[in-house]
Symmetry: C2
Subunit: 384 residues, 2 copies
């Protein structure tokens, strides 16, 4: 890269896995927008919020960004970006109609999104220990439409591996709008959370939607009855490499012969994406499209609220088998360093899930500080 | 898959690498469109023209398609598609503004496409033995715009490995329209065809575009002067696995540290795509986006006139090195069975590149039939 050493210095100071390129991506986003919110800068640069925030601090220290409400370039920053990085274009070439996602929700289906939003407003609270982080109703409907467009719904036996995104309900509503019929040859939801399954069953019943649910922890091999019984699976698994491998393997166990997969995932740095793509190859899954920014999430601010959607074709599904998995799986297990809090009252430091502390901040608040009983906690920055 | 055995039977009769899914894709395209040209059905189903044509014949034999000018379903075909395949939707959900490509050409840049079209109309004739098959000026400009959008042009040292697509000229014209400046820190074109390089140099000089050319056969390692000297490379290599691996390896040799790659390629069946993706992994190239149908070609009818564009990030570029390559590389070398002709006068059968026959049909016409001297030849269907 030709970028000067300041980018490298910021990348080093923030331990940025994307390297100087990640810093340049933030500067490019700010330069093109004039000024923008941290959240939007993170999204544009495909970086997690805490990472974008750390980069912002370093760029402020270096005098390239100004301390204002949003992010904006200082005069020195503008000079640097134009002269040293060679930027000059502020034009946005992403499609204005679909924001580059390729799939649009036709006007006539807009009411479906509103109906879905009203339904999911009644959903049970999110269990973050299971990496639950529901996508927006808009995203759930776009996933269903993408499946319809690409032949993954009509006449297909569809399996959803985890469905805190309520894609099963989006598919059902879409079928009702498309001639009042079940588009598929059956939709089955497998989930480890009975509260979530009960909500989906109740909502489906209320809305006249056909739907099967199976309570099952995917760390165990698929029940025999589900093996080789589906044409398509859809999943938005835990955002760890082992989580991806496990859910994809179980999905492959479920496919009859060949078949399709819709796989939603975090937008990882290139070195980790390479590891994920080796998992695809190992499992005999060929990538057909990759759509960055396709998925929007209401809650997952840490991920910049967006994620990618990958369409895969199973070339050798029968080859994929995995015995019971007993290793760490969810983000909280793999990256516990992300989840440290300080008691606002006594200053005690609590790392979730360690030394007897609860696994979630919600549980911590309910239990109170072990030292003083306080119930207000401040999130600490990342621990190494 | 739940599809009945007729799909399997057609897939077997046409030796279809996509299997029954490929036959279903043709039927879905015809059903959604009502009736359409073979060429458009091939494009929709992402199948090469000869393959789509063979499927059509089998579906006609089976009574599902009718013999008409375009492809259309017989009443039996419509029954089959609706009842046995479960299709019912005729709605097209691909973005109407960008056709799902994600990048649009703004109105103000339309004249650039016309200027580029006028320039490439003067280009030398295509050398099919080098797998030359220029993309449309529209596609060349969209590639340049995608590079601008994704930070692969401004302030970057850009290498084009082969440029029968005239992307170098599109980049130059775009820079002129964007403030009359060279967007990049230099564009270098490496090509094995001196006619093509002379055309690019001449056009660049006429248009006031900055451009370096290097005559070099990529079967040889990159010249030392080009190694580790670029931030970005762009290529549309020979459509063979070895061609892809070779061009990607040379591109990685050229990258300074990290860096980006725009890789255009045929839309292969999933089993072959899986092999290609293993090549990406082996070379340390992480896929960032895959855009089916992004590239349009004027001449490559056999590929349905469209191809995919893949954006890659080089994670470990220094690891990639390849000595001189002396194996088969171009399509004509790897798949000579595709290129059989019959003399219209005496009926003699000629396989290009074998038994002393020329490598191209153009050369064959110039030389005349070895048996009778005739100069009219009919293309034969594929040989095993």
């Amino acid at each position: 890269m030709t970028e000067p050493s300041i980018l490298q210095a910021v990348a080093t100071a923030t331990r940025l896995r994307e390297g100087p390129e990640g810093v340049a991506a933030i500067l490019r986003a700010v330069y093109r927008a004039g000024s923008l919110r941290l959240q939007d800068a993170a999204r544009e640069a495909r970086l997690p919020m805490p990472v974008a925030s750390a980069i912002r601090r370093e760029l402020e220290k270096a005098g390239l960004l100004e301390r204002k409400q949003g992010l904006s370039l200082s005069p020195e920053g503008r000079d640097f970006v134009e002269r040293d990085l060679g930027l000059g274009s502020k034009i946005d070439l992403a499609c204005p109609t679909c924001a580059g996602h390729g799939i649009v929700i036709p006007d006539k289906f807009r009411p479906l999104v509103e109906r879905l939003a009203a339904i999911v407003a009644q959903a049970p609270s999110v269990d973050v220990t299971l990496d639950q982080a529901p996508c927006t109703p808009d995203t759930a409907m776009r996933r269903a439409l993408l499946m319809l467009q690409n032949g993954a719904l009509e006449g297909r036996r569809v399996l959803l591996l985890g469905d805190d995104d309520s894609v099963s309900l989006a598919i059902g509503l879409l079928g009702q709008a498309q001639g009042g019929r079940d588009l598929t040859r059956g939709v089955t939801v497998v989930d480890a959370d009975e509260r979530r399954l009960a909500f989906l069953r109740h909502s489906a019943e209320q809305g006249g939607i056909a739907l099967q649910t199976v309570l099952h922890d995917l760390r165990q091999p698929l029940p025999e009855a589900l093996k080789r019984g589906f044409d398509v699976f859809e999943t938005d698994p835990p955002y760890t490499l082992d989580g991806a491998r496990l859910f994809l393997t179980r999905g492959c166990e479920a496919l009859a012969a060949g078949g399709q997969c819709l796989f939603s995932f975090a937008q990882w740095p290139a070195p980790q994406m390479l590891q994920l793509q080796q998992v695809f190859c190992d499992l005999g899954l060929a990538v057909q499209t990759m759509r960055p920014g396709f998925n929007h999430y209401a809650g997952a601010t840490v991920l910049g609220n967006v994620g990618q959607l990958i369409e895969l074709i199973a070339v050798n599904p029968s080859g994929a088998e995995l015995p019971t998995w007993d290793g760490p799986l969810y983000t909280a297990q793999v990256n516990p360093r992300l989840r440290a809090y300080q008691c606002a009252q006594c200053g005690a430091e609590i790392v979730l899930g360690r030394d007897g502390a609860p696994d979630t901040v919600e549980a911590l608040k309910a239990k109170g500080c072990a030292s003083c009983g306080g119930t207000v906690f401040r999130r600490q920055s990342q621990k190494p």
